[in-house]
Symmetry: C3
Subunit: 634 residues, 3 copies
Amino acid sequence: MKRTLGVCYYPEHWPEDQWAEDAAGMVAAGLSWVRIGEFAWARMEAVPGTLTWDWLDRAIDVLGNAGLKIILGTPTATPPRWMLDKYPDMLAADAQGNPRKFGSRRHYDFSHMGYRDECRRIARLMGERYGKNPHIAAWQIDNEYDCHDTTISYSDVARRGFQDWLAQTYQSTDALNRAWGNVFWSMDYDTFDQIDLPNLTVTEPNHPHQLAFRRFSSDQVVAFNKVQADELRQHTDAPLIHNYMGRITSFDHWKVGADLDIASWDSYPIGFLSDRLEGTAEEKQKFLRQGHPDMQAFHHDLYRAVGKGRLWVMEQQPGPVNWAPYNPAPLPGMARLWAWEAFAHGAETVCYFRWRQAPFAQEQMHAGLLRPDRAPAPALAEARQVADEFAQLPDVGTAQAQAALIFDYESAWAWDVQPQGADFEMFRLAFAAYRALRRCGLNVDILPPDTADLSAYKLVLAPGIMTLSDPLRAALAAFKGTALIGPRTDTKTQELEIPVPLGPQLPEVDISVALTESLPPSEQITLQGSGQFVHWFEHLEGNAKVRLATQSGHPAIMGGDHLRYLAGWPDEATFDRIIRDLCAAQGIVTHYLPEGLRIRDTDTHRFVFNYAPEPQDWQGTTIPAAGVHWAVLT
Amino acid sequence: MKRTLGVCYYPEHWPEDQWAEDAAGMVAAGLSWVRIGEFAWARMEAVPGTLTWDWLDRAIDVLGNAGLKIILGTPTATPPRWMLDKYPDMLAADAQGNPRKFGSRRHYDFSHMGYRDECRRIARLMGERYGKNPHIAAWQIDNEYDCHDTTISYSDVARRGFQDWLAQTYQSTDALNRAWGNVFWSMDYDTFDQIDLPNLTVTEPNHPHQLAFRRFSSDQVVAFNKVQADELRQHTDAPLIHNYMGRITSFDHWKVGADLDIASWDSYPIGFLSDRLEGTAEEKQKFLRQGHPDMQAFHHDLYRAVGKGRLWVMEQQPGPVNWAPYNPAPLPGMARLWAWEAFAHGAETVCYFRWRQAPFAQEQMHAGLLRPDRAPAPALAEARQVADEFAQLPDVGTAQAQAALIFDYESAWAWDVQPQGADFEMFRLAFAAYRALRRCGLNVDILPPDTADLSAYKLVLAPGIMTLSDPLRAALAAFKGTALIGPRTDTKTQELEIPVPLGPQLPEVDISVALTESLPPSEQITLQGSGQFVHWFEHLEGNAKVRLATQSGHPAIMGGDHLRYLAGWPDEATFDRIIRDLCAAQGIVTHYLPEGLRIRDTDTHRFVFNYAPEPQDWQGTTIPAAGVHWAVLT
Amino acid sequence: MKRTLGVCYYPEHWPEDQWAEDAAGMVAAGLSWVRIGEFAWARMEAVPGTLTWDWLDRAIDVLGNAGLKIILGTPTATPPRWMLDKYPDMLAADAQGNPRKFGSRRHYDFSHMGYRDECRRIARLMGERYGKNPHIAAWQIDNEYDCHDTTISYSDVARRGFQDWLAQTYQSTDALNRAWGNVFWSMDYDTFDQIDLPNLTVTEPNHPHQLAFRRFSSDQVVAFNKVQADELRQHTDAPLIHNYMGRITSFDHWKVGADLDIASWDSYPIGFLSDRLEGTAEEKQKFLRQGHPDMQAFHHDLYRAVGKGRLWVMEQQPGPVNWAPYNPAPLPGMARLWAWEAFAHGAETVCYFRWRQAPFAQEQMHAGLLRPDRAPAPALAEARQVADEFAQLPDVGTAQAQAALIFDYESAWAWDVQPQGADFEMFRLAFAAYRALRRCGLNVDILPPDTADLSAYKLVLAPGIMTLSDPLRAALAAFKGTALIGPRTDTKTQELEIPVPLGPQLPEVDISVALTESLPPSEQITLQGSGQFVHWFEHLEGNAKVRLATQSGHPAIMGGDHLRYLAGWPDEATFDRIIRDLCAAQGIVTHYLPEGLRIRDTDTHRFVFNYAPEPQDWQGTTIPAAGVHWAVLT
Ligand SMILES: [Zn+2]
Ligand SMILES: [Zn+2]
Ligand SMILES: [Zn+2]
């Protein structure tokens, strides 16, 4: 498959006589794809039941005839105002129980069945009209699930849906009371309709109560998406896609991805550094105009797996955005670097968001490839450069990684519910492990928690997996490389209880977690030799061999040749040392990368990316700030 | 006109047999004015419809016969409890939709028509009874509009009022949808009653939606005030006044001021330093007991213009207050300094708040000129000293300034709605400009955004004016001095969109803002030579001459001899240098003032104020901490 | 009386066949007491009116027959779900008016009369069944009043109850209006049913309004407790106990304690250091695994007095807990140290919480003496060691202290309502005084505000007592030692007004507070010689002798030989110096203790406790980290 570029476009935002010029401009910029339609419900159906397709027909014609392939979006993230008259209870509610009102977007409750039917209807109508249209080469369903924290709703509709879900899941309140340990504080229920949503309680609600609500909420996203996917598949053979976001763990992307053909995501490196990554202002300053050097890679690797190997970037930041606390411009070159990095991680297509900056409404300060006055914005030339470079590197591809990281959304909910220490959070832990692998120069595959075969890998990390699934436990038993699991892995049952006997339950390795400590930032656990654990430390017991110990003699890593358990959260230098030692034992080559430099291999080339704001040296080559370097793999 | 002092007094708080002694004490302290009545509705009308004026008649007699002139306040900031029985929906609502309950003050919604009628009624009754009373020499309407964030209400009453306001403003929802760009996220409305208040939306509501609500909310304050002003004018020839607060931008003071005769304000230098100015605790420590050296001056200059030349201080802090996070006592001398500073800026009257500290209720820890036990508090002697000093400097006056600063409330709302960077706020930007002018020793006039004639000035600053008004644009075109506008000036339409062609649209100067960056505190844009921009930086284009450039070669100031655009937010030293350079070119004398020293000229004298906690030298004279120095202008 | 140990146990959490082994294990661990029952209402009465006692009969038999004495808890902190069907309005409401929902615990409004009747009923039923049971040697009523901020409720039930309470307290709204100074802002009421709860007002509600609501709220706790106490006394002669918490000032413990026989409390030193004590992370780091060296002692001394001399620890932290921001493990030895410290302060019994860590529900990460898998947790051996050591020190006892500290809950409410400076809080001030006494090595008695006899003491501190009670004022007049009162003592009336003449009103000492300043952390008031006041400074007047002055010449301490007033809040070193000077004058021996070392005398022994994480020297003896040392008093 060939690498391609694209762009997001909103014909409904512009006078029709401008469309042809825009389409020609896109082609001239080297773009192949254009995404349209995903916020245009009010233009498709201004009056309930009266569909207005002519403008969209013409837009598709103009764009398609210019040579562009179209990704058509279902507009279900922005139902028109009249939908509220039909379903006044369709609004989601916040944790205080207040309805989240009309006036922006995503103002629907995923669990509202009436609205789900409306989405099926509009998907059907679009599928019927455009499913076989030769210009429509892909479909996007809805837009950015959970954006603005929309997975979880505390509405009445959600409460009734949750009660039904519980009844189906547990069959009897007796079973539920036992499963949740409701005896603890006389929290037993007699009927399912007594069970409220877990908000506004006096102190924290029971953990399995919360976890069940998180599972229910994720299931609603999966079901909402599936309704449209099932409908569209009746009418089209084009691939179905959703555009995920960064650091969203509120729903199970593995399950949504199972119903789609391609996983795409919306990559805003500078915004994400600012608004959703740990780190002091001082730590972030170095990457202020580039983004965190591992954040994009992590999501590329994650969503490539969610997409069963097929990855797109649906929205690529081209300049300053409007929504982060501060919005500086990217370093010149980054709009190119980000695209090439996506391709190196296996992306087929990178679409910039958006063609022309809208001079109006909420995102008017969000840059595009063009300025509001049609003049080129800085990213346009960088996109053109990428398109030109395709001649040298046309083909999508990615190398088999030697290292894998298991990532599980249910565990993220479990630790949200029961962090035990203020700094314990699933993404943060998994990302710490991922970054260590990347700093050692490794390609990484991210795998789902029900992975049944690890034989392609030499090194597997599985931090923070609350319960090992049966297939994964079996795969670990059969594993010939080295798996390093923990901290906190397999220390809970599926109902978020402590198993007795104590976890983890590991094949042929006798280890259990006897005591757990969470640590404030002022406290560390010093390791023998050097290094330290931060945030978290588990006291391990068992007959397994101690591979690394703390200064005070507690096990830090225990286990056999193929399966080991990590008792704490290593700081960066310690994590690097642990990874390097494991790689050395497995014969995996590691690298010492200058700050901000990252490498990634495809099946044919090695790519080197410089996220640093100054030139860096790579094996004799000086790579400028925001520079991309590649070489054929030998 | 002669300079005078006054005080706030609450006869209803004290036994009647104490009034005469209090009145005599005021006269003995050198006070000429006494403000009364503004919280006494429950004493005037304990039972609806039954008016009890006798106590007020006697209080006015006692005070007036002692030789005091009376400012009589309408009591509409504190409606009695029975008003709620009549209008249960008159309470304002907070952003969560909760009613803001009875039990303190200002518990009314400005848009409630029933309550507005009640205010008209009480104003009429007071006007009828006291409008011609020779002791009543001025009227205050209500008290401190917006105090406790009361301009904006999210009540049902406000929602219906807003819908009416929108219908009158836009005439059709089609026009509104177009004006707001509602096509963006299918946010179009079919009827005006579909349009909700812009709170509790999923993500930010459309910017023009928010701006319209801010305009509506400000208009309610203007209308509420005008109802009383119109009524009182039927009955009295005494001047009408409102007492504004510090750093309040939620309503358009220019419009309220247009309906009144004098602008007064309530000056709490120590409280304001603590609770509403930027700065770390360390930065504020030096002025802990004096207040910020430019805060009072800014508001004197602003409200002198709002009052069309007539300025009062209606409440002057005399000692520790009760409402700031910390409440230290003023440095000895500050109660005198603050009064003289007000006079130097053109104030006719300074009233201390309050005569005697109340030993009860919410403000019992708020100092007065007397202690609760009638003993003199420290400020009493300082007030007496000011009164004695009037002999030397009896006459109100202020010099024509050479420098002007444009200040616009609509722009404040625009940037509240669309800050784009967390540190961008209108008052903060305007105050940064004002402080630079003051540090250079200049008198400053603050002017409204529709100023049509700048010919009296040599230097004009207009930072952050969202849209230049037609008169101001014309005045800039005709200007013979140097105007420095920007950042962000004329970069938006009246509907808070980006104009195409891009702004600013300047007479005979070709400049446009091509790209905008907001910057975290860790990031600066270095200028050539020296200096830097912080918070904000705009990439400018156009044929206009580059007057100053950044290290990386972008324009920092562009423009002609008379009109220039400033591309960023200069830090303090940089702003000083820019101002000094412009002054030098215009032949304006500037000064290098020691820290905390400020100067201000009237038409006859130069005043020097030392806000520093240690003595400072001024041209050979040592001015003690909290010292005031004056000399005849030659 | 003999010192004893105990443990908390939940037979309803475990299979019945495990009970006997658990009971045997407790006895083997040296424990004498077991607390049961306090969360088991749903097991006692799963269906309204159908009581199920058989399991509890058997549990009591098994535990009692093993030789354990039982503390039986009334389960009123966890009403079953069906109670809500009976009383839907029994839920407390938060400050936003939202009901605090079912799903955890303590979800009841103390003022709900229907629920109070249900509590009387279950107490009666339990009393009837177990009041004479020989195994039941003590009763606990409810559990941890105010835990999760449950004293204050803004429900409709509370509003109506408050209105009745006001009507009974003030008899007429005229009296109330006068008492509260409602004239201030026209806040007068005509009927009691107009008076709302003091939440959601526009700005702060009137202080006496708030204080009345705090008194009402505290009274509800007292009444709620008394209903059960009165009922149980009909049926049992065993002592009645409640388990208080740390740093809870929302209800008057003196009044609850008056209705009970023993005061117990739940001591979580590591959790409390983390979640409810001032101090930076750096300051807390040294005591991260030990707790603050004075926090436990303060509460032992306070609750010993609340218990009229009888003190227990009902829950003693044994290992990491689940509820603090970070939850590290205690330093080895601390579970022993904390117990011995309690005994040294007069505790009769220390019960660890809990026997076995529950693997399920909210507290699954809360350690016990056993792990979830029945293996011993580290604290078990430490408890056993304490039990063994009883042989050397069997008897409960505590020495008469020479120093006393007055502690008043009403004052805590007063300063919550009217802090005047952000750092002024009653516990914080009292604890600062207490810590200074402890750092000097003194035994301290904490006394109630109506103490009528101080003759047993040489040194009395009474900081922040809003109004001196008549008995205390008389006791101070008769006092032969030195009392140091202030800051803020006797500066308010019972209605939280400033008295005229100004307070304090001291016997034979002429001092009054003329002016009050609160200070930000950046500001101090330097004293002559050395030392400084922080947070707070009062300007004193009067003829009393100045004992200490500030650098600028204001009095810092004034008064006679027996009664002095402290004008500010001394920092730690200054407070130490002041205490040492007073002790020297009174012939009280003081000590210079190494950091973390504390001493406490019983009537027979001196105990030395090392809270430091390293060994400390005490008069030639090296005491290890977490070490306890004792010697016979000679
Ligand atoms: Zn997006
Ligand atoms: Zn005021
Ligand atoms: Zn507890």
